[in-house]
C-alpha cells in the first residue's frame, strides 16, 4: 500500500484555503465537505490552481431521513491521477444550488437532469426544461418519496383479457386445461 503522500498534499491544498473538512478515502480518492456557497469556489480553485481540469461526474443523493439532498462533484487531474470528491448537502425543501456550467460546460447536462429528476433549481441554467421526460407534472421522479409502483398502478392498466393480472402460467392452465410442469410450479408468484 502506498503512503498516500500526494493524496494528503491535495487534501491540505484544498482544505486549508477554504477552512473546510475532508479526508483521504484511499489511494486516488480524496473527499472534502463544504457548504453550498463554497462549492463553486472550491471547484474553480481546484480547476485553475491545482490542475483538476476534468469534471468526471456529478450526482445527487436524496437523504430523505435527513431531509437533505447531497450533491457530489467528482473531478480528476490527468497529471496527479487522483479523484477529488466535493460534497455538499442542501435543504430538500425548495432546493436551490449554484449553477457551475460557467466552469464546465458539460455540467449543464448534469444540472438539467438533476432539475428534472430531483427538482433542484439552478438559477441561470440554460437549455430546455425537459431533459429525458416529456410533459412531466408529477413529483420529480428520482426523489425517494416518489413511488414507482404506485404510479404504475394508477397510470397504466392491464390489457383486455388480463384485468385480473394473474400469473401467466395459471392463465394458460385455465385456458388449455394442461398441467404446469413441476419445475415451473415453484416459480409461481405468491399473491
Amino acid at each position: 500500500m502506498t503512503d498516500l503522500i500526494k493524496e494528503q498534499k491535495l487534501l491540505e491544498n484544498v482544505t486549508n484555503p477554504f477552512k473546510i473538512k475532508g479526508r483521504v478515502i484511499r489511494n486516488r480518492r480524496v473527499e472534502v465537505f463544504c457548504d453550498k456557497e463554497t462549492v463553486s469556489s472550491v471547484l474553480l480553485y481546484a480547476k485553475t490552481q491545482l490542475g483538476y481540469i476534468h469534471l468526471a461526474h456529478m450526482t445527487c443523493i436524496d437523504w430523505i431521513d435527513e431531509n437533505k439532498f447531497e450533491l457530489i462533484y467528482t473531478i480528476w487531474s490527468p497529471v496527479e491521477k487522483v479523484h477529488l470528491f466535493v460534497k455538499t448537502k442542501i435543504d430538500r425543501e425548495n432546493p436551490v444550488m449554484e449553477n457551475i456550467d460557467k466552469i464546465w460546460d458539460q455540467a449543464n447536462t448534469y444540472e438539467r437532469e438533476m432539475r428534472e429528476m430531483f427538482g433542484i433549481e439552478f438559477p441561470g441554467l440554460i437549455g430546455e426544461h425537459d431533459f429525458a421526460l416529456e410533459d412531466w407534472d408529477e413529483m420529480p421522479p428520482m426523489r425517494k418519496d416518489f413511488d414507482t409502483h404506485q404510479y404504475a398502478e394508477q397510470t397504466y392498466y392491464n390489457r383486455p383479457g388480463r384485468e385480473d393480472a394473474k400469473d401467466v402460467r395459471e392463465t394458460l392452465v385455465e385456458r388449455s386445461g394442461t398441467e404446469v410442469p413441476d419445475f415451473a410450479k415453484k416459480y409461481s408468484r405468491e399473491r
Binding site: 476534468h54 461526474h57 443523493i61 457530489i72 467528482t74 447536462t109 416529456e134 414507482t148
Partner: protein, 368 residues
C-alpha cells in the same frame, strides 16, 4: 451570389446513423450546420430508479441494458463499486477472466462500430462483414454465459462460472481469424480513399479543450492525449499485461478511426496474454444469500475503460439489502450532448451522423 436562408432541420429521432434514438435540431444554411441542439428522451427507462427497488444482484439485469453495444463494462464497473463497499476480494483467476471478457466485449463493440462508422459514410459492405464477424465473438459469449448480447456474468466477488472446457482454444482461434480479417477491413475501410476523404479534417476536437470539454476514450486519444483508465487507474490485472495505448494527432474522425484500428490489435494481444498467464483456482468469492445480502453503509466510485471511453458508477449504500442510489456516467453523457453541440457547427449535414458515430454517441446511455 445567392443568399441562403437559414432553415431548421430535425435529424432523428429514428436512429440518426446507427447510434440509437435521439434527435438533433439543426439550424442549417445551405447544407452547412450553423448550430445544433440535442434532444434526448426517447429511450428513458428509469433504470436508476428501478434499481433502488431491487437487491444488489438483481440490479445486473438492468445495468447491462444501459448501453446496448456495451453491456459488460457496466457490469464490471458496478461490481467493482459494490466490491469496494463490501471489502470483497476477487480471486486472481476471476480477474483474468474478467479482463478476457472485457476485451472480447471491446472487440464486439469495435466490430459494431465499424459497421456504424463505415455505414454512415456510405460503405455498406463493411457493415455486412463486421457484423458477421461480430457473431463469432458473440458465439464465444454464448458458450461462456448463455447469452449473446446481455450476459450478467461478472458479479461482485468474481464471475458466475468457470470457463467451459476448450473455450480458451476457441477464443484463440477466433483471435487468429479476426487478426487476419484486419487486412480485409483495412482494404475496405481505412485504406479507402472515400473514407479517408470524408474523415480527414472533419469533426475536429481541439487538443487544448478536449479534457475540459469532458472528452474521454478514443476521441481524447485521437487528439494526441494519452489517457486510458486501464493505465491511469489500473484495475483487475491490466498492470500485469503488456499493451500500448495508441494516440494519434489531429482530433478529427480520421484520428479517432486510427486510434480504434490500433486498439483492436491491442485487444487481441491482451486476450492472448491473459489466456497464457491465467492461473488455476477459485473464480468466485461467494456472496451470502443475495436476498438478504447487506452491503455496508458507504459510497463508492468506480470507473472502467469501455470502447467509447471511461464509464463510471457512483454507488451509495445505506446498509440494507438494496442499493440506495446508483448513478452511471458513460462517455456518451458528454460526447452526445455538449461535445456534439460544439463540434457540429460548420460541418456538412451529411457528416452529422458520421461524426456521431466517431464520437461514440449512445443515446440509451445518456438518459438510462
Amino acid at each position: 451570389m445567392i443568399r441562403e436562408k437559414e432553415t431548421t432541420l430535425y435529424l432523428g429521432p429514428q436512429h440518426p446513423g446507427i447510434t440509437g434514438n435521439m434527435m438533433i435540431k439543426l439550424k442549417v444554411q445551405g447544407d452547412t450546420v450553423v448550430s445544433a441542439t440535442t434532444h434526448v428522451g426517447y429511450l428513458h427507462r428509469a433504470f436508476e430508479k428501478l434499481i433502488e427497488r431491487r437487491n444488489w444482484l438483481n440490479a445486473f439485469t438492468l445495468l447491462c441494458r444501459f448501453c446496448v453495444p456495451e453491456p459488460d463494462p457496466m457490469e464490471l464497473t458496478y461490481a467493482r463499486a459494490v466490491e469496494e463497499l463490501d471489502n470483497r476480494e476477487v480471486p486472481e483467476r476471476a480477474k483474468y477472466i474478467r479482463v478476457i471478457v472485457m476485451e472480447l466485449a471491446r472487440l464486439q463493440s469495435f466490430l459494431l462500430w465499424y459497421a456504424g462508422q463505415a455505414g454512415s459514410g456510405g460503405l455498406y459492405t463493411m457493415g455486412q462483414w463486421s457484423v458477421g464477424d461480430r457473431n463469432y465473438v458473440l458465439d464465444l459469449f454464448e458458450d461462456l454465459t448463455g447469452g449473446r448480447i446481455y450476459h450478467m456474468y461478472i458479479w461482485p466477488g468474481g464471475v458466475r462460472r468457470d470457463l467451459p472446457d476448450g473455450w480458451t482454444d476457441k477464443v484463440l482461434k477466433t483471435m487468429d481469424y479476426l487478426e487476419n480479417r484486419q487486412k480485409d477491413y483495412n482494404q475496405l475501410m481505412f485504406d479507402n480513399t472515400v473514407f479517408q476523404k470524408r474523415a480527414k479534417g472533419v469533426g475536429i476536437i481541439p487538443k487544448d479543450k478536449a479534457v475540459e470539454w469532458g472528452v474521454v476514450g478514443p476521441p481524447l486519444r485521437g487528439t494526441g492525449i494519452k489517457s486510458d483508465v486501464r493505465i491511469d487507474e489500473p484495475y483487475e490485472i491490466y498492470d500485469k499485461l503488456d499493451f500500448v495505448v495508441p494516440t494519434f494527432e489531429g482530433g478529427d474522425i480520421w484520428a479517432r478511426a486510427m486510434v480504434r484500428q490500433e486498439e483492436f490489435r491491442q485487444s487481441i494481444s491482451i486476450i492472448r496474454q491473459a489466456i497464457e498467464k491465467m492461473p488455476k483456482g477459485e473464480y468466485y468469492n461467494k456472496v451470502p444469500n443475495p436476498m438478504k445480502w447487506i452491503v455496508p453503509e458507504g459510497q463508492a466510485w468506480a470507473k472502467t475503460e469501455s470502447v467509447r471511453g471511461e464509464i463510471g458508477f457512483y454507488v451509495a449504500s445505506n446498509g440494507t439489502n438494496k442499493p440506495y442510489r446508483v448513478h452511471a456516467k458513460g462517455a456518451a453523457y458528454t460526447h452526445g450532448v455538449t461535445v456534439l453541440e460544439k463540434v457540429l457547427p460548420g460541418q456538412n449535414i451529411a457528416d452529422v451522423s458520421f461524426i456521431m458515430n466517431s464520437l461514440g454517441v449512445c443515446p440509451p446511455e445518456i438518459e438510462r
